[in-house]
Amino acid sequence: MRGKIAYGIVLLALYGSALAQMELVGSLLSPNVPISAVPKELKLPDPVLPYLQEEFNKSIGKDGAYDTQFKIVLLMTRVTNVPTKKYEYLERVVLWEVNSPQKTAQKLFVVSPDARVLAIQGLAASSNKAYIPTMLRIIERDTATKPRIAAAQVLPALGDRELIVPKLVELLRTKYGVARGPFKEEDTQRFEDDRVAEAIITSLGELGDPRAFPALLQVVMSPDSHRDDTVKAAWNAMQKLQW
């Protein structure tokens, strides 16, 4: 009996630690990304960054590149010295598809979207306003859904409403808004874009800036242009605005 209880406790502890680790890197990541490959206690200094960048460049277009790229970005986030240049390297990864949208015959993206999500979260950890334009650029220009959602999610953590709100409102009205006409569930691109719209709306709610009200109102007033979840998110965001 005692053995069974102990076994149960061990299982629960293992499940808990796995869950905590997943939460740490966000729920956006694919379930099979090799998080456990890199030892948790590994800490690296700045001099490793050029090597990591070199390996990252070499991985582009190769078989199994996504796993390798994810591990490289995970290693970049493990650079612990202060000050560090790791954010410059992470920014390069984040903007890779936007700056050089090369496509291979086999894959739609040359850089793993999961690796970019991780890099976005790494950049957000800097709490540096300088990366706000980078995030906005991702939301506007990137073609993969996950990095766009991640970029929208981390914006409130970077602060500066003056830089963020006007641009998000503009994107919500144009690229992700009513301007695109009625929403069709079977239109995959539109569906993915609307998931990004939902993330933008949630961030606007977290920022609580009343300037977002007209754009949010437009979303709730035109339910045919969005998914139900997006409209609900707009109602919730409106409640959070700080008048």
């Binding site: 890199v38 206690e41 590994l42 001099p47 490793v48 390996e55 390798t68």
Partner: protein, 150 residues
């Protein structure tokens, strides 16, 4: 009588053939040397071969003893990066498997220096985990952690 003589000669031939087959296995680097090679040259030649696990085991202590020498250090790095990285690695292939066992031993020898210069090698082995045994990959991660950064 003639038959008996023929049988005796036959048995003698069989014995001598068997004796040739049971030639002693090499035990030291000297047994592996070709011509006027130095011990290090022999070790370098053997370690570049595919397979030959037993011979490689013989030369490893010499590598371990001289790893702090810049030439040996550079040679081991080169070996690990260009001779023991195997994109076609298959656990069931005995030659590949035992070559990877040697790769792990070489990693350990290189890792014993704890020099930052070994990072690219450890990184390669840690990142491309499908090219190696699990034990080799884990060794690479462990040795990466043990590097003494200045």
């Amino acid at each position: 009588m003639k038959r008996l003589l023929e049988a005796f000669i036959g048995i003698c031939l069989l014995f001598s053939y068997g004796f040739c087959q049971n030639k002693e296995r090499p035990k030291t680097i000297a047994d592996l040397r070709i011509g006027s090679e130095t011990e290090m040259e022999t070790a370098m030649r053997i370690l570049k071969l595919k397979g030959e696990y037993e011979k490689k085991r013989i030369v490893l202590p010499l590598i371990e003893k001289t790893i702090k020498d810049p030439t040996t250090f550079a040679f081991v790095k080169d070996l690990l990066l260009y001779y023991y990285q195997n994109p076609r690695y298959n656990e069931e292939d005995q030659v590949m498997y035992y070559d990877d066992v040697i790769a792990e031993e070489l990693l350990k020898i290189l890792g014993s220096t704890r020099s930052p210069e070994i990072f690219p090698v450890m990184l390669q082995y840690a990142l491309y985990n499908k090219w190696h045994r699990e034990a080799t990959v884990q060794t690479a991660w462990r040795l990466m952690q043990s590097i003494e950064w200045k």
